[in-house]
C-alpha cells in the first residue's frame, strides 16, 4: 500500500475550550479527489483549518507524504505543498487581480516556470481574468472572485488543494464553470479535498466521499457506490 499524500489520524480539535472534531481519520491518495460533505456546523471548515495549521493540533494528527506536520503554521504548509481556497474567498482587497495572484507566486513552493501553474495557463482557463487583470478585486463579480481565489491557491503550486465551499453563493451556471476546471487541476497531478454542502455536486466531482456529522465521520466510500439513502442517513443522523 502506498503512503497517502495527506492523512489525518484521530484528529481532534476546535476553538479554545469548544471541541468541534472528535477523532477524524481520513486519507487522500495522490491524484485523488475526495469530497467532504455535511450540514452546517458539522465541522468541515474546522477540519480544513486544523489540517492547514490555522488551528492547533498535535503533530501526529496530520501527516503529509507520511511525515507528521500537524500544527505547522499555514505559511510553512504552503512551502510543503498544501494550499487552500478559503470559504468566502478572502481575497486581498485594495489590490488588483494580478497583484492577488503575484502574492501567491512570490511565496510559492517553486517558480511559475518550474511549476505546473502559471498566470498564462490560468488566464486560458479563466479568460475573463485576463481581461480584468488590472482591476481592483472589489470590481469583480462573486464568480470571478472565486476564479481569482482558485488561481491564487494554484499559483502556490500545491500538491494538495483544499477547497472550502467553492460553490457557496454562486449562480448554478458559474458553479458549473468552476467545477469544469477541477479535472484539469487533477490532471496536473494535484490531489483535491472538496468541502461541499451540495451533495450531488460533491458526488459527481469526486472519487471518494466522506460525510461528517457533529464532528465525526459518519460515512466513507467510493462516491458512485454510495446510495442516496446512505448519504441521507449519514448527513442528518440515523433516526
Amino acid at each position: 500500500m502506498t503512503t497517502p499524500i495527506l492523512s489525518t489520524h484521530a484528529l481532534t480539535g476546535g476553538y479554545g475550550d469548544f471541541q468541534a472534531l472528535f477523532g477524524i481519520d481520513l486519507h487522500l491518495d495522490k491524484g485523488e479527489v475526495i469530497s467532504l460533505i455535511g450540514a452546517n456546523g458539522a465541522g468541515k471548515s474546522t477540519f480544513l483549518k486544523s489540517i492547514f495549521g490555522l488551528l492547533p493540533v498535535a503533530p501526529d494528527m496530520v501527516r503529509f507524504e507520511g511525515t507528521p506536520v500537524g500544527g505547522t503554521p499555514a505559511h510553512q504548509m504552503v512551502r510543503k505543498g498544501i494550499s487552500m481556497v478559503p470559504e468566502g474567498r478572502r481575497l486581498f482587497t485594495g489590490m488588483t487581480v494580478e497583484e492577488n495572484m503575484r502574492v501567491a507566486i512570490d511565496n510559492a513552493r517553486m517558480s511559475e516556470a518550474e511549476g505546473p501553474w502559471s498566470r498564462d495557463r490560468l488566464f486560458q482557463l479563466f479568460p475573463i481574468l485576463k481581461e480584468k487583470r488590472r482591476q481592483p478585486i472589489e470590481n469583480l463579480s462573486g464568480g470571478q472572485q472565486q476564479m481569482v481565489a482558485i488561481s491564487r491557491a494554484l499559483l502556490c503550486q500545491p500538491k494538495v488543494l483544499l477547497c472550502d465551499e467553492i460553490s457557496l453563493g454562486l449562480a448554478p451556471k458559474v458553479i458549473r464553470e468552476i467545477y469544469a476546471v477541477l479535472p484539469e487541476i487533477s490532471a496536473a497531478g494535484t490531489s483535491i479535498v472538496l468541502v461541499e454542502q451540495d451533495v450531488s455536486l460533491a458526488r459527481e466531482a469526486s472519487h471518494r466521499l466522506y460525510c461528517m456529522l457533529e464532528g465525526r465521520i459518519t460515512l466513507a466510500g467510493a462516491s458512485h457506490d454510495i446510495s442516496r439513502e446512505a448519504i441521507a442517513a449519514a448527513y442528518f443522523g440515523a433516526a
Binding site: M95, A108, C156
Partner: protein, 286 residues
Amino acid sequence: MQWLDAIIQGVLLGGMYAQYALGMALMFGVMRIVNIAHGDVMILLSLTVITLAGVLPLGNIGLIVVIVPIAVLLGWVLQKFILNKVVGADPLPSLIATFGLSIALQNLMLEVWSADTRSLPNSGIASASFELGGIYMGVLPVLVLICAIVLTFGLDMVLRTSRFGRGLRAAAADTEAAAMTGVDPKRIYAIATAIAVGILGLAAVFAALRATVSPSDGSAQLIYAFEAVIIGGMGSLWGAFLGAMVLGVAQAIGLRIDPGLGILFGHLVFLAVLATRPEGIMARKK
C-alpha cells in the same frame, strides 16, 4: 508676501512632520497597529544621537549612518518581541502595549538623560540660509523636505511594486488569508516596523539639529504624526505626506496671526478635516 512666506515656511515645517508621519502611515495606516510610543522612540533616537555626537567624532552624515541601522534594529526588536504578540483584528492590545511602552521609555529617558533639553552642536547647517525671490529659506529645512519627498517616493514604490510590499498589503488586508498564501505575516510586520523606525532614526538626527529635544517631547510628535496620517487618509503614504504639509502650513499661518496660535491652528484644521472628510484627503474612493 508675508503670507507666501508663511506658506513656504509651513511647507518646510511639513517636511519634518512628514518624516514623523511616514513610519506612522506604514504602521497605523497599513498595518493598523496603533503605536503610542512612536514619538518617544523618535526622542530616544534623538537623545542617543546627541550622546553619540559627544563621544564619537562623527559629522552629521556619520551620525545618520550610525543611527539608522540602530533604529532599524530597534524597530525589528520592537515588532518581533512586543508588537507581534499583540497584533490582530483588535487594535486595543497594541494600543495598550505601546501606551505602556511609551510611559516606560519616557521614564527610562528621564533616568538616563534627565529632563534637560539638548540638541546637536550647531555645525553651521542649522543656521545656514539662502534667499530666493525675496524669501529666506533655511538650508536644513529644505534638506529635510527633500529627504521626506525622496523617502515617501521610495517607500511608495516599495509598497506598490516589491514582493515585500505586496506581502505587507496582503497581510494588512487579511492576515489569515495572507498566511494561507504563504506569507509569514509576523516576518513581514517585523520588516515593516524596522523600516518605520529606521525612518525615525533619520528624523531624529534632523530633529536634534533643528531644535532641542527632551524626554517628554515624544507625545507632541506622536500627535503630529497621527494628525498627518488621518488628514491624508489611512493607508496612503502620499496622503500622509500631504497631511503633514497641511499641518505645517496651518501651523505657520496660525503663527503669523499670533505667535500663540500656531499649534492650535494645526489642531483646528485637523478637526475641520475630521468633520468634513473623515476618510482623509487622499482616501481611495470605494
